[in-house]
Structures are given as C-alpha cells and as structure tokens.
Amino acid sequence: MTMKEASGTKRSSIRDFHQARWNEPIIFELNQPGEVGIEVVQSGEAEEPGSSLWEDIALSSILRQDPPALPELGQMQILKHYLRLSQETLGADFNVDVGQGTCTVKYSPKVNEELVRSHKVAGVHPLQEAETIQGTLTILHKTDLIFREISGMDGFCFQPRSGTHAILAMASIVRAYHEDQGNPERNEVITTMFSHPSDAAAAHTLGFKIISLPQDPSTGLPRIEDLENALSDRTAALFITNPEDTGIFNPDIVKFTELTQNNGGLCCYDQANANGLLGITRAREAGFDMCFFNLHKTFSIPHACGGPASGALGVVDKLVPYFPIPHVVERDGGFTLEEDFPKSIGKIGSYLGVVPAVIRAYAWIMSLGAEGLKQVSQTAVLNNNYLLHHIRQMKGMDIPYSKDGFRIEQVRYSWQKLFEDTGISTEDIVNRMCDHGMHMWSSHHPFIVPNPMTLEPTESYSIAELDEYIQALESIVEEAYNNPEIVKTAPHKSCIHQVDHSWLDDPRKWAITWRAYVKKRDSGAYLESSVSIN
C-alpha cells in the first residue's frame, strides 16, 4: 500500500453490510423438557451421606417445593443460542467504534485477556492471606505509582468498580473530610451541565445538594461568575470534567479550583475524558485534590457489554487517610494489606475491587511507556480533529461553541439544522448508522445541544476507518436531503427492525422477564396492542 492510499486521499467505497440476523427465539421458547445442559456433580453424589441430613427435619419449612422453571436444553443447543446472540452484538472488535463519545472505546489488547484468564488471577480468592497474593499486590503497587506520576496525585486506590463508583467514593471522602474538619454543614456539591450525570447523581445519593453550573452559550464552558455565585460556606466540593463532554478544554480551570478551595471546598476531577491528556497535563497542576480514571475507558479494559469496570481513585496526601480499606502497604520487601485507618470511609465496594482490570491496565501501560502514553493522547486528539474537520463540512451540521477551533478528544456535534431542513433527527441517523455496521451516540440528558451527536475516535482507529465512518455519515446526510424515508424507517440491515416503544413505559405491558410477558400475554394485555413505530 502506498502512503497516498493509506492517508485517505483514496477512499474506500461504502461497505455492503448486513448484520447477522438469526431471528433467535427467547431461550424459554426453545425448552425441550428432559434435555440436560451440563452435569456439574457426578451422578449419585446428590444422594451421598449427609445430603438428606437436614432436609427432612429442620429445613422442611424452607425447602423449595416446585423446581425453578428454567428451560431444559442440550449443551450444544445452549452454546449455539448464545453464539447467535453474540453475532447479533456489535462489539468494538468488529466496528469502527468511534461513535460512543465520553466512553473512549478503544482496542483492548488480546494478550492482556490471556494474562487475566490465567488461574493465577481467575482462580484467586479475594480474601487470601497477603503472602499468597504478592503478585497481585505488586501490580497494585506498581500501578499506583504509575498513576501518581500520570496525575500528580499522592496515592491511588482501585476498589471502585466503575467510574460512577469512583465518583461515589470521592463524594464519600468529601463528606468524611468535612465531618472530620467539624464542618458537616458543607453539604453542597457544584458540578456543570456538561459533566457526566453521575457526578451530580452519585453525590446527590450521599445527601449532597447539587448545583449544576450552566454553560456559557458562546464558549460552552461554565462561567467563573456562576461559580462565584454558587460558592458559599455550605460548599463541600466541585465535581468537574475537563475537557467536558464537548471536548473543549477549560483554560481557566485553575481559577475554578482556587476559588473553590479558597471557599473551603475540595476539588474533584472526573477524568472520564482523560484520553487526550496523558502526558499533556495533570490533575495536580490544575489544583485538584482528587481525581479518578476509568480503566475501562482510557486504560483499555474491555467494556464487556457494560462492566465489570474499574475506577482508579487518586487523592492528595491529606485525603489518603479517608481512602477505602484495606491499603496496600510495602513492608520488609513485600506487601501487606492494612486496615487500621480510623478515618477511612470503610468499604466502598467488596474486597480489592476488580483486580483483573488493574492487571490489564498495568500491562497496557507497560506496553506503551511514558512516550507511548503521550502518543496515545496525541493521536486520539489528531484523530478527533480529523473527524471534526470532515464533519464540519457536512450539510446540516452545526458545531456548537468555538466553531472554528480545535477540540481535545471528542466533540458534541448538532444535527439541528439537518433536522430543521429535513425532519431527520439524531435518533434517525443513529438507526441508519446501524445499516453501516456502525454505532453513533447522541448525548446524555438533557439534550442541551439539540439533536446531538457525540463522537470520540480514540487512538485505536486507522485513517481508513475514520474515512469509512465519515463516508457513512455523509451518505446519510445525502439521504436525509434526497431520500429521507430510507433514514426514517431504518434500520434495514440490522438484526431487527424498528422497535415498538409503547410497551416500555406502560406497566400493563412492560415485561422485564419472560414469565412477566407470558402472564401479561395470557391475561390479554397485548390484545389491543397494534404495532406502532416510534
């Protein structure tokens, strides 16, 4: 391949895609009474000595009478069913997965999967004595030191099991800190409308009142005067992302952290959007007291259909005593787990967190080094601005805020003009992108940017793939103006067709399990239902 071809001047034609479509029944519809999927215990073992000891006497009041009505199927039939469902799922390993902004869907290296499938990880119990898990503790310690350097924080904890869980941990530490300082009346958390909804929601869950700063309509950034008005002697903390979900970096971030701290508040950095910033800028210099990284975003852990995930939580020295327990402590050439931290918030989650996630992240970092991590960020930002450059030129497209500038790692675009011109909404485009084997995401609620689209290309995708994504979008814009019906009725080449949404918010019809469906069907709940397209 010549460089000219590789660099995208010669574009591939649009792929003639069709997703797998198995029309696979719900597993209960496949039930074949008498078939068996596996034998986990040897035949006869269930009748061995001891098995009936309590069953007849003490337990009689609590024994299950009717067996659970699970389907009965042979092993190969079960395997086939689930493999068909897997084929009807579009993982990042298959598509140009730049469409889920804020989520940093990147390549999860296969070698790291092999490492964590070893019995040295998969077969380890979480409460083993420290001397039997020195391998894991070594990696937790090394990764802690690496994250300190990346962020400038003074210590890291890997117990939180997602980014939102890390936000909950931050809020817990904020509360414990102010109580410890004798200031329990500090019960307000300030965040911004373009920070992740979990910043507001998790802090609110712990009892904080939430103040969400609006964005300046011209810059998209929160205004300093709004922060000043929000600050008071009730301020507990600022929870903020930077760049926010618009991909715009807030150059005044130090003023935000200084003002908050001068008012007695702590500054908590949601680094969900860190993928453009590794080796570029750090939480420490921006004045933060705490930050966290999503290992399933920036640090390559697979997203796994929505978890398990991991949130690596970092704090400055004065907040280390509030960390969840146990702490990994280096002692006498080895590592111990210690719990004697009376100011600790206790357990935010079970055990040591999602250990395999930390091991994967460690391996990924070691495969890159300092220069490689910076290259990750630089390339992610370059890819993002390459997408931005092409999408900006599309008909019906608007780029709210700083229209001509560069962005960091993602952009929140708007199809509002296209919608006004053609009646084609973001949701329609999302559905039509499925016909290209691609995913596209709008934004969190509320839709401050009308008809939003949020893309984050990360460092993982080649220029040819970015061009393919751009072309798919271009073709849909073309259709919106010339053949809108095909967009409105999409998807056409996905696993299924347009879903009837009328059941979903109707208690008489929603069916969250098969048994609920069967009961409602048999009681006639769906008789009057006609198929309606959303």
Binding site: F28, V121, T136, I139
Partner: protein, 467 residues
C-alpha cells in the same frame, strides 16, 4: 515509530492528517491548554516493554507470586466462593462481541439486549420474581440499593439489619445509606448466628423501613423462622429485604415465597471465576408492581415487538424518569457501568444447569457441609458453631480452645497446601479465633477428609508442643 495499538502513530500519516486539518503540529491542537498546566518534563514511568512476548513474560513472572485455588485447596468463601465454572460459560463471555460491546442500540446490539433480558428471565425463575434489574457492582451495592429503594417506598427512616451480615457489606451499607436512615443492627445469637426475634418485634414500628437479612446467612446459617419475621415486619407496615445465594435456590425457597419484598445477592457462584473479587455482580429483584419498578436505579430491559411481525425487540423501561442517565440527580441514585458480562454468564450457567442441575448442586452443597461440619466437630479442641442448625456452603469453626490462634492454624494449613477459612477475628464481634470455612461442589469427600485430617494433625502437634 509506529505502535501496534496506534495505527495513526506513523509520522507520515500524522503529517498528512495535520495537513488535512490545517495544523502545523499536534501541539497546535492543544492550544487551549495554558503553558502553566503543561508539564516541564516527560513523565517518569518504567521503561516500555516493546515486544508482546516480553510483556507477557514480565506480567506472568509477577503473577507467579500468586497462589491460586489450583495451587492450593481453597476453603475460603465469605461472599466469593470456588465453584465449578462450566466451559461454555467462559466460551460465551470470552466472545469478542460480548467482551468488547458497550452501549449500542437495541438494533446493532440486539444480542446483548436479548442475552440480558434472558438473564433477567432465568433469574426470575430461580427467584420466583417477575422483575430483575441489570446487575450492579456487587452484593454490597445491591444490598445498599435495596435499603434505599425500601426507604423511598416507605418514606421511613429506621432500617433493621442483621448484625451477622458480612462486615464488608455492613460498612458499605452504612456509608451509602446514612444520609437517609439509621441502620439498627439486630443482635444475633452467637451460637446459632440467628437474629433475636424479640428485638425485631420490639423495634418494628411505624418508623421502621423494614428488615434486611441474608438467607443463607454470611455464616452459612439458614433462617427457618421466615414467616414469623415477615409477619412482624409487614404488620408494622415495613418491607422484608433478603440477600440470598442464588446457588442455594434449587433446594431452598426463594425469599419471595416466605415474604421478601425485595431480593438481592451476588451472581458470582453462577459460572463466574473468583478473579480475586473481579467476578462479583450484585442482583436486585422484585415483584412486577409499579411501586417497586419505579424505584430501581439500574437499567431494566423489556421485551417488545418490532415493525416486523414475529420479531422480538427490546428497550429500556422508565428510562427517562427513573435513571440518572435520564434525569441526572433527580433519578434514583445513579446508574453507570455495572457488571453486564457476568449477567450474561449467569444466564448461560442457569441455562446449562436447568431445574435438575440447580437442585442437584444445592443438595450436594448442603450434604457436604453437613458432612464437613460433623467431621470437623469431632476433632478434639475444636467446636463448630451451631452444629445442630442447618447450614449452606459456609460454617464457623471456633479455635478458641485449640491451643492455636485461627491465624496460626491458617498458616499451618498453607504449609499443607490448603487455603483455610476466612479469619473472623477482630472482624465480627463474638467470633474471635473463628474461621469461616466454605464447602462447595468442588470439594470432594476426600478434600474434606484432607482438611479434617490436616486440622487434626496441626492441632495435635500444637498440643504436643505446648506440653
């Protein structure tokens, strides 16, 4: 230099892309970041390992210092247990499609939605309930959310919780719930581990949100006075919340059948490797009543139809009003990334096991625990707590009169390639020098005899030495 994970890292490609977008250098793209926030030196990190084989060797050499349940005979439980993982479970959850999918639409990710709907449906059969949410981080979080759901439903402020729930869980629940309720620990009999019913009766009032207990309990004890407990709480207008081990439910009643309003627990026993705690997954389930459904913070997927007759589709129930994705802090608690891959895996496990498999495995675990408890109780110097009460999967052995501390016993067991029980000393009041042993279907009668013989030998050596 190009990096294999960064296709556009090649300088020539980067030059071309910069030219396209009208920038001189990548630094131009960072123009918004003030110089004062730019580091003055490169990050000081360990040197990069360039080849995949060297990376593998490096990480594996560190992990060699772990001892696993393949290296040792593991008798630790306490909320995460060594169970047999069917090969099909791993085959499915290692599929690239499931492993690397995230937040796709009900169209391109139809299979993910269906697999998760089926997970809820299969768990629904096991739990005898019509609503099961997409699982959260772990049992700690699931139980904490159950308490908050119950608080919102009742509008009350005092929650009774059995004092013998896992100390870890108690800590998480306290941190998570204290802004909304007072958690009152229900005292338990230190012999049987069972709750003081008189205490519950005298504390059930119009301010009582409800009662949370676990069955089988953290200490393996099975609560059989369930109807009485439910009546006391329901008569006071409160809710019964029960945490349960799903692998027990082929033989034990699902909690709803003895009055539970909300059921929760952990999916790890259902075909998920321990992974040093990475396999935890917290489920929540209720009846199909609006007052419950509208209180879930997690995503709930409903089956529905599509524009093509005979085709199943899926979608989110009450997404906008209920979830923080839809309503930020006005939603219920929060939702984010949970543990969907383990839900799919648990669904595969329940499909494989079927009704007969779940019953068999429950019987085997019950029986082996009875065998192990009696066998260990016969060792001189040891006592098994609540020997006469039924247990599932876990039981407490008291070493107070053995001449050795529980920790010393575990160290001696390690020398014999046995991972002893979870040391409850200083973790659970009244259980000093006690080990919580866990017996599952992976432990053969010979394994249990090995444990028993080893304990006998260790303690007789200790007695000999002390003489």
């Amino acid at each position: 230099m190009s990096h294999p994970y960064i296709p556009n890292s090649h300088p020539a490609i980067q030059r071309k892309m910069l030219e396209t977008i009208g920038a001189h250098s990548i630094e131009d793209l960072y123009g918004a970041i003030p110089d004062s926030l730019r580091p003055k030196r490169p990050m000081n990190l360990p040197e990069r390992i360039t080849s995949e084989q060297a990376l593998r060797r490096h990480v594996e050499s560190i992990l060699e210092n772990n001892l696993s349940s393949r290296d040792l005979l593991c008798f630790k439980g306490a909320g995460c247990a060594p169970h047999y993982v069917p090969a099909v479970c791993d085959e499915v959850n290692q599929r690239s499609e499931f492993l690397t999918a995230y937040a796709g639409e009900p169209y391109e990710d139809h299979g993910r939605f269906q697999a998760l709907f089926e997970y809820a449906s299969l768990m629904g059969e096991l739990l005898d309930l019509d609503v099961v949410g997409i699982p959260t981080f772990d049992w700690n979080q699931a139980a904490s959310t159950c308490l908050r759901m119950a608080q919102r439903i009742t509008g009350r402020n005092r929650m009774l919780v059995s004092e013998t729930v896992s100390p870890e869980r108690m800590s998480t629940m306290h941190n998570y719930c204290r802004s909304k309720m007072e958690i009152v620990a229900v005292p338990c009999d230190q012999e049987t581990g069972l709750m003081d019913i008189d205490f519950i009766r005298s504390n059930a009032s119009e301010s009582t949100i409800g009662l949370y207990f676990e069955n089988p309990g953290f200490l393996g004890n099975i609560e059989t006075r369930t109807k009485e407990l439910a009546d006391i709480i329901h008569d006071a207008g409160g809710l019964i919340l029960v945490g349960t081990d799903p692998i027990s439910l082929g033989v034990l009643q699902p909690p709803v059948q003895y009055g539970a309003d909300i059921t929760c627990g952990d999916l790890q026993p259902l075909g998920i490797h321990m992974q040093q705690g990475g396999g935890q997954s917290g489920f929540i389930a209720t009846k199909d009543e609006e007052r419950f459904v509208e209180q879930y913070p997690s995503r709930l997927f409903s089956v529905t139809t599509t524009s093509v007759p005979g085709e199943w589709g899926f979608g989110d129930v009450l997404y906008d009003e209920r979830t923080s994705f839809g309503a930020r802090e006005k939603g219920n608690e929060f939702v984010g990334t949970g543990t969907a891959l383990w839900a799919i895996t648990a669904g595969v496990y329940l499909s494989l096991m079927g009704p007969k498999g779940m019953r068999q495995i429950g019987r085997v675990i019950l029986g082996r625990n009875a065998y192990a408890m009696n066998k260990i109780a016969s060792i001189s110097g040891l006592s098994v707590r609540a020997l006469d009460h039924p247990h599932f999967k876990e039981f407490v052995v008291d070493f107070s009169n053995s001449g050795m501390s529980a920790a010393e016993v575990n160290n001696k067991l390690l020398e014999r390639e046995i991972m002893g029980g979870y040391d409850l000393s200083s973790r659970l009041s009244g259980y000093d020098q006690c080990l919580l042993f866990c017996i599952t279907e992976i432990h053969s009668i010979e394994d249990i005899d090995n444990l028993s013989d080893s304990l006998t030998s260790i303690l007789s050596n200790a007695t000999t030495q002390s003489k």
